[in-house]
Amino acid sequence: MLSSFAKRLYGIAIVALALASLPLWAPRYWVLIVMLFSLNLALAQMWNLLAGYSGLISLGQQAFVGLGGYTLAVFSMYYGFPIWLSILIGGMLSVLFALLISAPIFRMRGVYFAIGTWTVAETLRILFSNWKYVGYGMGLFVKPAYTLSFNTIFYAGLFVGVASVALIYFILRSKLGLGLMAMRDDETSSETLGVDIFRTKLICFVLAAGVTGVASGVLYLQNIFIQPFSAFGIDWTVRLVFITIIGGIGTIEGPIVGSFIYVVLQQWLSEYPSVSLLILGVIAIVVILLAPKGIMGTIQERLGFEILSPRRK
């Protein structure tokens, strides 16, 4: 008999192999779906790290989506940097920007933090639409992305998605994660036990910014076209909130299930984007009212079933 840990490991390996070999046997449409799923998963997993584990409800993740996308466009197009390097620079600039705004932003708590981060993103949106260097509100074409094959972008997306899940898993099982759990249960008493709350939250905020910047770089390889009003739009965070809430906030599996539901619904109603947002909004409210832990959180509570447990046995 295999131990349950080994079974789980085999399960994960089979799923990973199936996804990685997807372009070899599946129709192109499936490949596209899995890529969109992976990218949404990476973004949602980062929002989950903030809202679900660090108690930071950020409504400004679109700031890093926009920065990641614009950095890719500017560096690869204006300066001829390699595409992947430009995407990494996008992540690094997002980290720098997160550090820069953390001084004023971390003076705000709870709701103030939420609106503060949103206002920062709105400020970027208007700055970029008034900035000649990035083509005002008209935006930029990420022309170098045309040189990449569809499969290459798929693997980049899959990598980002899988890496984001792995990152969260290892963070939660590290000392940092232990601090996060203690903080979530009781902020005051965890502080007296030696958890540096400010530092812990800051690390999460900065990490989330970096991964969001990189993931959105890959996203704009697929989108090709970047404009301030969509790149810095609140719609990004709306999506992440819905994905995480419906799937289960504060669980690793939650964003996985949520992203799947989101992408399926979005594709199914692709001709009526406002209907799919409407439905997601209704589902999210019903979930908060009836099962505040979301789909995976509720399943875990009822059945004690976890695929990726942050706990050490």
């Binding site: 705000m108 400020t123 208007i126 609140i234 009212l289």
Partner: protein
């Protein structure tokens, strides 16, 4: 120097009048923030919903937008009551996040519902006030609609403050907000009181929506813009007084118009945001808050 100051007369006047409109946009959010301790992220969308309700009313009865308030205020009052009583009340508790996220969901639902019904086209509540200007002395030109906004806002805030000090319901709302437990011991049903408070906030959103619709064009997705304005007003003004909220509106309006005057029209919103962020970072309880 004198010439520059004379040139500033118009922007300052317009900024203050626009600030009056911002005051009424923010007042409902300020009430709910202060009384229920919930940030209603759907407040901007309620304002825009009211503008659309007025738009529908006007297409049936050909009257002045201000007269449509006779129908729009009760409708928004009811919507506010229902939202609080059946949705937000159920998730109130120690954790601030569920009410925030319910309101956020509501905001997205409202925006997309409006988009489905009214298409993304720009709308406006047309009145002959919109194009008239008033000339005071030799220097200052005031768009009449701004003046109407300012006067209606001021009147609403005056009536609200009378309501909170003179009526039983007003006193009960203040009691429930000061100390929920003690108020309940005195026989006040706090949850029901919260629903009344949200209903009144809906009423103020109705007035704000009609004024916004008379002054600017609006779309189904304009709600969040007014949410940030409302939040700016609440933050700058601080919790605690209706007058503070109104002053917050004036400051935000002035900051925007002066920003646009000195830096160009693209910077109108940004100068407001910068003021908001500075206040958030250095005095998050607001400039006019007690304590």
């Amino acid at each position: 120097m004198l010439a520059m100051l004379a040139g500033l007369k118009n922007p300052i006047m317009n900024g203050l009048l626009l600030g009056g409109l911002y005051g009424i946009v923010g007042i409902g959010m300020s009430m709910i923030f202060g009384i229920v301790r919930v940030v209603n992220l759907a407040h901007g969308d309620l304002v825009i919903l009211a503008a659309y309700l007025s738009f529908v009313t006007l297409s049936i009865f050909k009257v002045s937008p201000l007269l449509s308030l006779v129908l729009v205020i009760p409708a928004m009052f009811l919507i506010g009551f229902i939202i609080q009583y059946y949705l937000v009340n159920r998730v109130l508790g120690k954790d601030m996040n569920p009410p925030l996220l319910v309101a956020f969901g509501l905001s997205i639902i409202l925006q997309n519902l409006l988009l489905l019904i009214f298409t993304p086209d720009a709308r406006a509540l047309v009145t002959n006030l919109s194009i008239a200007t008033l000339r005071i002395g030799n220097f200052v030109n005031i768009p009449v609609v701004y003046l109407v906004d300012f006067i209606v806002s001021l009147a609403t805030i005056f009536l609200l403050s009378r309501f909170f000090t003179k009526t039983y319901l007003g006193k009960a709302i203040r009691a429930a907000s000061d100390d929920e437990g003690a108020a309940e011991l005195m026989g006040i049903n706090a949850k029901r009181i919260y629903a009344w408070a949200m209903a009144i906030a809906g009423g103020t959103a109705a007035i704000a929506g009609v004024l916004v619709g008379m002054t600017f064009t609006f779309y189904p997705h304009t709600g969040p813009d007014y949410l940030i304005i409302a939040f700016g007003v609440v933050i700058i003004g601080g919790l605690g007084s209706l007058l503070g909220t109104f002053l917050g509106g004036l400051i935000l309006g002035l900051a925007q118009i002066l920003g646009a005057h000195f830096l160009g029209p693209g910077f109108q919103l940004i100068s407001g945001y910068v003021i908001l962020l500075v206040v958030l970072a250095f005095k998050p309880t607001g400039l006019f808050s007690k304590g």
